[in-house]
């Protein structure tokens, strides 16, 4: 247990690399409840890091602290080597951290291109831009390019409303938005929880594509097969802190379940 709680990451996969994002000793208390209890976090460029843990283990609180939705009472967060302190999700977003949520991330009546640029519309150049006129053509072209580069071939017409898409395609739109604007980190909070088997596979494919671009992805998921399929490392969260980061090639799914529930301590050889 003592070896696992130390910041012991990066022994094999990331020894030579600088982390994209780290957190040390994060604490968040609500009255008597401690949501984050000295949690650490490390994310390296180009990797898919899965975060697993039981309900109530504090995964969501950790993610909220990393994305500015919650301000930790103690601890420090570094992004790309420099210390950051986010006061709102918008600040984190401006620093290049994008989040994909389980649901509610798109406006169904609006078209795909509009949804991709919602809140970050491109304006026309010059005087027309001063009049706040949108550059629809540029937005459509970029939207099209982004969907193509992520291999989202099933979406033909980007001017169709999002509600005409399947659940998987809608989530693909949300993922494409994150990939388009996320310059440093993409965080996905249970992105496949509402999806069927085939749609889940499509979203996992997108996660791989994004990490291949060098953009690290944090995947919070209960879906063990999905976690084992895409992740390079698995961050195990328990009782408000990280109990260790394991290499999915060295452990089985049932091992990870044991680590999550605390039935077993993480053996040193499983650590990533």
């Amino acid at each position: 247990m003592s070896t696992a709680t130390e910041p012991s990451t990066g022994r094999t996969t990331a020894a030579a690399r600088e982390p994209m994002m780290t957190a040390r000793g994060l604490v968040k208390r609500y009255g008597h409840v401690t949501a984050i209890n000295g949690a650490d976090f490390d994310l390296y460029p180009g990797e898919v890091l899965a975060i697993v843990g039981d309900n109530g283990a504090g995964k969501s609180s950790l993610i909220k602290a990393l994305t500015g939705a919650l301000i930790p009472d103690a601890g420090e967060i570094k992004l790309d080597g420099k210390q950051v302190r986010f006061h709102s999700p918008v600040e984190a977003r401006n620093e290049g951290i994008e989040t994909v949520y389980q649901t509610l991330a798109v406006a169904p009546a609006l078209d795909i291109a509009t949804n991709l640029f919602l809140g970050r519309e491109l304006r026309r150049e010059g005087l027309l831009g001063k009049l706040r006129l949108l550059d629809r053509k540029a937005m459509r072209t970029r939207a099209r390019d982004e969907l193509n580069s992520l291999g989202i071939a099933t979406i033909q017409d980007i001017t169709q409303p999002v509600e005409s898409l399947s659940g998987g395609q809608r989530q693909a739109v949300a993922v494409a938005r994150a990939a388009m604007f996320g310059s440093k980190v993409v965080i996905m909070d249970e992105p496949t929880a509402a999806l069927g088997v085939r749609e889940t596979a499509q979203v996992l494919e997108l996660i791989k594509r994004i990490s291949e671009r060098g953009l690290p992805v944090v995947l919070i998921s209960h879906d063990m097969p999905a976690v084992f399929e895409v992740s390079d490392r698995i961050h195990v969260h328990r009782l408000g802190k990280r109990t260790g980061v394991v290499d999915p090639k060295k452990v089985s799914m049932s091992d990870v379940v044991s680590f999550i529930t605390g039935a077993e301590d993480i053996p040193a050889e499983a650590l990533s």
Partner: protein
């Protein structure tokens, strides 16, 4: 077919408008006539402009029951200020500002205190109506000629087609709002806030500011409606437009804008307002009692919403 209607919500109302126009053109000798069309548009200008403001609010999944009451207060303010010696231009500006401020109060209560728009504007309707009655002492005022009745003056294009200044101003307001809603980021945000507020919030849109700005712009439009009303009938009457709020909602709904927000637009509202006016004009010319006209309008509202639901149902 269903898909075409769902993707282009103005299609249904426009088809309905053409159908009723064709019907009345055949059924009466007097309907198909340029002067009659001009009159129909003149009759729909005030309600249509109130409906324009209402459209903005309904797009955010809100509703404004106080819009006509605010405009009526505006008519009295303009008239009494001018009678009292205020330069008419200042009176008009003051009226526009007052209407904007009153609607902004509603918007602030909706956005910041998170009260339901129906309740906020129901309360505002009672408050504004009472203030108007106190301010006017329950009597009507003749409107001084000049700037206040300017919107009632006419241009004759092509020698004989009558256009009132009110019609032209209303047309300008509709074009401006159509432009802003469809071509600017603010317009997209209005739709997003009405359609899926949580998604809008997560993308960093300021929901509060968007909502308050929507009510403020709607209030400004009500102010213009007040000015138009003085051009149409040169009397400031505290009891005018008592069903203006419901009539404006009718126009918006018949025009295909969803009461659940995020869908529809101002083009539909133009068509919706014209459908109601054409129906009333045509039925009057057929000699049909006004109670049946109300009945027909009521049926049309329900039909419009049912049609809207049917086209939107997942196929």
């Amino acid at each position: 077919m269903r898909k075409a209607f769902a993707r282009n919500p103005v299609l249904g109302p426009t088809a309905a408008l053409l159908l009723v126009m064709i019907f009345f053109s055949i059924a009466t000798d007097t309907f198909l006539n340029v002067d009659n069309f001009s009159l129909i548009v003149q009759q729909s200008v005030v309600i249509g402009t109130l409906a324009l403001g209402q459209t903005l609010i309904i797009l955010t999944a809100g509703i404004d029951l106080a819009n006509a009451a605010i405009a009526v207060f505006g008519t009295l303010l303009l008239t009494r200020l001018t009678i009292g010696g205020t330069p008419p231009f200042i009176a008009v500006v003051a009226g526009l500002i007052a209407c904007t401020l009153i609607a902004t109060i509603s918007g602030t209560l909706v956005a910041r205190v998170k009260l339901p728009p129906f309740i906020v504007t129901l309360g505002m309707l009672a408050v504004v109506t009472a203030v108007t009655n106190l301010y006017s002492a329950g009597t009507t005022y003749p409107v001084p000629d000049g700037l206040l009745t300017f919107l009632g003056s006419s241009l004759y294009l092509f020698g004989r087609v009558q256009f009132t200044m009110g019609m032209i101003l209303a047309a300008i307001l509709f074009v401006v709002m159509w432009f802003v809603l469809s071509k600017t980021g603010w317009g997209r945000h209005v739709y997003a806030v009405g359609n899926e507020p949580e998604a809008a919030r997560l993308t960093g849109i300021h929901i509060d500011k968007t909502l308050i700005s929507v009510y403020a712009v709607a209030g400004l439009i009500y102010g213009f409606a007040a000015w138009m009303a003085l051009g149409r009938t040169p009397t400031a009457d505290p009891n005018a437009y008592q069903t203006g709020n419901l009539d404006s909602i009718t126009a918006v709904v018949i025009g295909g804008t969803s009461l659940f927000g995020g869908r529809g637009g101002v083009v539909g509202t133009v068509v919706g307002a014209l459908i109601v006016a054409v129906l009333r004009s045509g039925l009057t010319q057929m000699g049909i009692d006004s109670n049946y006209q109300n009945l027909a309008t009521g049926v049309l509202v329900i039909a419009a919403v049912a049609f809207d639901q049917a086209t939107r149902r997942k196929g």
